[in-house]
Subunit: 338 residues, 2 copies
């Protein structure tokens, strides 16, 4: 299997976490897939609450849970001793262990032994299969939308999830397609595209959004930015392999430079649109921009509306802050074009 | 060490090869680095000749040879039994074993044991370090030229080697920088850029051509093509990380479609130039095209000269077939611009 696929439903391990910022995976999962999170496993002192029943490994087994998801990122990256016991118990009970940490659970012999005995899998969603195909460039059936960005961390995952949800609420046929670790945990499948060997980026992207019904939309989570001095290769391979019919530019309203690479200015929204059309038409000549998704949370409240209005006027495209406006404007635009 | 570095000088293993096509690595090595190939190791029936002394492992050890280079690609990819003994002997004698095959010598216990005992390294030049940095995008000192292509296998390695040689013959200060397996064997160091994890493509490219003297040229071997539906990500990461001041477009005169991806037409030379300037200026605003290197071997002999003349007129740039014309026209153009 070249795609990562998770065993549903889930028990989420939150440990003793007191800061919601470090529990983004667990919180994101319950936000977007509430039906799949059957329980949470919390230690004394945990102040994060997913508002699902607290549950032990034994109870989880009885409920037919498929995977224990590590829903928090421990500070410093090392796994606390107290987690190791729980993970070992879960692996022994046959639950897959799903995590996105920099460590490898295979380095813990007791956990590996427990998993081997029960048949449980240890799934690090940061690690890509080493058995991926090269891209074919052959056109696939169905429709595809890719979220792209002026920078990393500009709302590409959130926008894709929100667009997929809004499409389905509007009676359309759509699927969120994950290309990063948190997205994979939320979608239950995907490929961490930035962890793929360079020769296979577009081949991996092709696998992420396979042939589908003519009226079906794959909403593909973008990665990096074509303008990023470190990650542009990932973004171009993903663009070419995704063959998107449509793309949405994601942007943080307060950002003027590449975050962490401050010697690089951000492209303008229009440059970003033009570059994606120029490069994207190589594998899909029909590619077009269908909207701009802006994170306006850094702007003073009273400036947000005007910012969105100005951008709408400048680009002639539907512009939204998905957290405030939802995605309906973009979806209407897509349906009007079709 | 993040770059592969080879121990010089070399003994080249040719086995019983009778077809020069399969001995490209050995023949390329002796063509570009004649001083480093001290001997060849041939079995009965070998019809390939590098015109260096035939030599056993024992003799090679006495000559102070650093590495045994596997200079032929065995048909089917499996290593013949007769090679294994020689490789084991060489490893036992402390020679590094350098190869670019799809197999791993670590899978042969006798070879691994011999290498471990002597301290010899088993170096597969297809495999990249898993300890590479992320690209910084920070400008480096010295000058850089990248060979790029309208397609894969369009003469990028050959052109880079020929340009580097011609520069040095013209009294300039230059170094060939390898990004692929054969190039790495010829250069004695480098990173196989297409084997790097996607997030680290431009970081690896930055390592390949570090800071240097102001008058020094790194001549960087290009990979893939920005127009290739499978490999464009590699090419963009390499372009952004290389930060070239100059690039040369490499093209096969008889090719109209992407080789092996025949549903994709080749870009025109002008499109290829424009796209590299548009994208390359992100990390080096001074980027410019300094020539076109065409493989005209597929054209009827009498048409070659006219083809090159027409292209020179169309582009206003020095156009050459490096095998026929050498690279002096391009080097003159570079020096005139400077």
């Amino acid at each position: 299997m070249n795609k990562i696929k998770l065993n549903k439903p889930y028990l989420v391990l939150l440990g003793a976490e007191s800061n919601p910022t470090y529990a983004k995976t667990g919180l994101g999962l319950v936000q977007w897939q509430p039906g799949l999170v059957v329980g949470q496993l919390r230690f004394r002192g945990c102040k994060v609450n997913l508002n699902v029943p607290d549950m032990s490994i034994n109870e989880a087994v009885k409920k037919g849970i498929g995977s224990l998801i590590i829903g928090v990122a421990p500070i410093g990256g090392a796994i606390p001793e107290s987690w190791l016991e729980v993970i070992e118990d879960a692996a022994r009970a046959g639950l897959d262990i799903v995590y996105g940490l920099h460590i490898k659970l295979e380095d813990f012999p007791a956990i590996t032994a427990a998993a081997n005995k029960s048949g449980a899998k240890l799934i690090n969603v940061r690690i890509a299969s080493d058995n991926l195909p090269v891209g074919t460039g052959i056109k696939r059936s169905g429709k595809r939308l890719l979220t792209v960005g002026t920078d990393c961390a500009s709302g590409k995952k959130y926008t894709a999830l929100a667009l997929d949800q809004a499409m389905r609420e509007n009676g359309m046929n759509s699927t969120f397609r994950a290309t990063g670790q948190t997205g994979i945990i939320i979608a239950g499948e995907g490929i961490p595209i930035d962890a793929v060997v360079a020769d296979f980026i577009s081949g991996a992207a092709e696998l992420v959004s396979p042939d589908n019904n003519d009226d079906h939309w794959d909403i593909i989570e973008g990665q990096g930015s074509l303008f990023h001095p470190a990650y542009s290769g990932v973004s171009l391979g993903l663009l070419h392999g995704s063959q998107p019919d449509a793309f949405v530019v994601c942007h943080d309203a307060t950002r003027n430079v590449i975050s962490g690479w401050e010697h690089y200015s951000l492209p303008s929204i229009q440059e970003c649109i033009d570059m994606h059309i120029l490069l994207g038409k190589r594998t899909n000549p029909e590619i077009c921009c269908v909207g701009i998704s802006v994170n306006t949370s850094g702007l003073p409240t009273k400036e947000r509306e005007q910012y969105i209005k100005n951008l709408t006027k400048e680009t002639g495209l539907p512009c939204i802050d998905p957290l405030i406006d939802g995605c309906d404007k973009i979806i209407k635009f897509i349906n009007k074009k079709a």
